[in-house]
């Protein structure tokens, strides 16, 4: 069981001693019981930090933002690292960022938090479960989540309202860390890895298409899935012509000769090209933090696409995203025994 006091003290201490430039963590938000990302720079702010089942954000996104802000301002980090609260999946995405040389190990101080026997809540599952009753607070308690509601305290077995990715999580513990709170419960088996994917894949090709056609139709190309993903850090996104930089020096010729791979209209065909390309670009990099899926306003099950890549990578290439900083990248490496029977 993690003691919030320990997290707060660590943050306060690091900020007071100048051991961290900032602490990225969670605070109570303005939207009901939900936590929200918090950026602390003063020791006295440490008491705002919270740790509960609504801390679902993958805060490593803000490490990326930090680097971008520094680069745009032409500054370097000035020595002290940024400290960040990271769950298992979040820590794995920090590893991927370091693997890709986005920043160095010494630039970040990882305050790991173990999910122990549970994980984070799935808001949609919880809403169904609470049946309209609003919760104002959520807390971990062993294998349960405890919610404070107008009708009193509600104790729910965590597995009934947990995010699918947490149920299927193979490693609910941040292996890469400077400091870690909570017990390592790696190996706990709440649901088989890829269970949701396997359920979907059990359908025939025709049914899978029927499903995806509807999902792709719904996408409004708001790019929330891209914005929320720490791995989608490119300044210029190949699928989105609006991100191509245009300055006063850009000639009409240059603008005209840029390849517009996808039209900006949110038509099914364009949405497919976007989402499939994104899934390919995340293959071997996505650590299943679930943020894209959660952020989508129209419930496109983006996680299934990412999971499909993760499963193939694991089964065919023995590849685990975010396993080690010095490890190879999935698509920039190969093995002699890679499958090739499909090639004529």
């Amino acid at each position: 069981m993690i003691n919030l006091k320990d997290i707060r003290e660590t943050a306060r201490d690091m900020l007071a001693k100048g051991e961290a430039r900032a602490v990225i963590g969670y605070r109570r938000g303005s939207r009901g019981m939900l936590a929200e990302p918090a950026f602390l720079t003063k020791p006295e702010e440490a008491d705002e930090l919270v740790w509960d089942p609504t801390c679902f954000h993958n805060l490593s996104l803000y490490l990326v933002h930090d680097r971008k802000h520094l680069a745009h301002a032409g500054k370097n980090s000035g020595g002290a690292p940024v400290a960040i609260i990271a769950k298992g999946c979040d820590a794995r995405s920090i590893v991927v960022l370091m693997q890709e040389h986005y920043f160095k190990r010494e630039d970040v101080y990882i305050i790991g938090v173990s999910c122990e026997g549970t994980g984070v809540v799935d808001e949609r599952k919880l809403a169904t479960h609470l049946n309209g009753v609003q919760a104002s607070n959520a807390a971990f308690d062993g294998d349960d989540f405890v919610f404070t509601t107008a009708e009193g305290e509600k104790r729910i077995p965590a597995r009934e309202v947990m995010a699918d990715r947490c149920l299927e999580c193979r490693s609910p513990y941040p292996k890469e860390h400077n400091l870690v709170f909570g017990e390592d419960k790696t190996g706990r088996q709440l649901e088989a890895p890829f269970a949701a994917l396997d359920r979907f894949e059990a359908q025939g090709a025709g049914e899978r298409w029927e499903n995806w056609a509807r999902h792709f139709d719904r996408c409004i190309r708001c790019f929330a899935c891209r914005s929320v993903c720490p791995m989608c850090y490119c300044d210029e996104c190949v699928v989105d012509s609006i991100t191509f930089p245009v300055t006063t020096e850009t000639t009409a010729d240059e603008k005209a000769s840029r390849i517009r791979w996808i039209e900006r209209s949110a038509a099914r065909s364009e949405n497919i090209t976007y989402l499939m390309t994104r899934a390919m670009h995340l293959a071997g990099r996505c650590t299943d933090c679930g943020e894209c899926d959660r952020a989508c306003p129209v419930n496109v099950p983006i996680r299934l696409l990412n999971n499909k890549m993760e499963k193939e990578a694991r089964e065919q290439f023995g590849f685990e995203p975010g396993a080690s900083i010095g490890g190879p990248s999935l698509v920039a490496s190969f093995l002699d025994k890679d499958p090739g029977e499909f090639i004529r």
Partner: protein, 144 residues
């Protein structure tokens, strides 16, 4: 034109410059007869084929997409085709996953000396695509 014309599958074929493209030339100069359904696009190496090219070809109306290059061990850039083998495997699985017919995407190794094999690959592909009919799942609506 009458709309009674039989359906002719359109294939976009990404051929590496050093092997498969030369192989297709050889098929031509050797006067080997094979269906004229493939539009070749020469690429430096299969390793240079981004999955986005494949999605884009389907998006712009291809009924089938072929990626073809040098045999394993023969890539002009030594490892390009090893990298391609992985990437193409992944995009193939993703296409299958969303329910696109397996036979719409294909990969082959055709050397510069294998004109006959190139002709066979195209002949087989056209034969497998014909029963599937036009590809409209991934195609932009305005494209005829």
């Amino acid at each position: 034109m009458s709309d009674q014309q039989p359906y002719e599958p359109k294939i976009v074929a990404f051929l590496c410059k050093w092997c498969s493209s030369a192989g297709s030339d050889l098929a031509g100069v050797s006067r080997i007869q094979y269906p004229a359904n493939a539009t070749p696009i020469t690429v430096p190496c299969t390793g240079a084929v981004s999955p986005m090219y494949i999605m884009s070809a389907f998006n712009k109306g291809a009924d089938g997409v072929l990626v073809s290059g040098c045999h394993i061990g023969d890539c002009h850039y030594l490892e390009g085709n090893y990298l391609a083998r992985r990437k193409m495997y992944l995009i193939m699985k993703l296409l299958e996953f969303i329910g696109v017919e397996q036979n719409r995407f294909r990969m082959s190794w055709v050397s510069a000396a294998e004109g006959a094999k190139f002709a066979q690959v195209i002949t087989d592909f056209v034969g497998d695509l014909r029963p599937l009919g036009p590809q409209d799942k991934l195609k932009r609506a305005e494209i005829k």
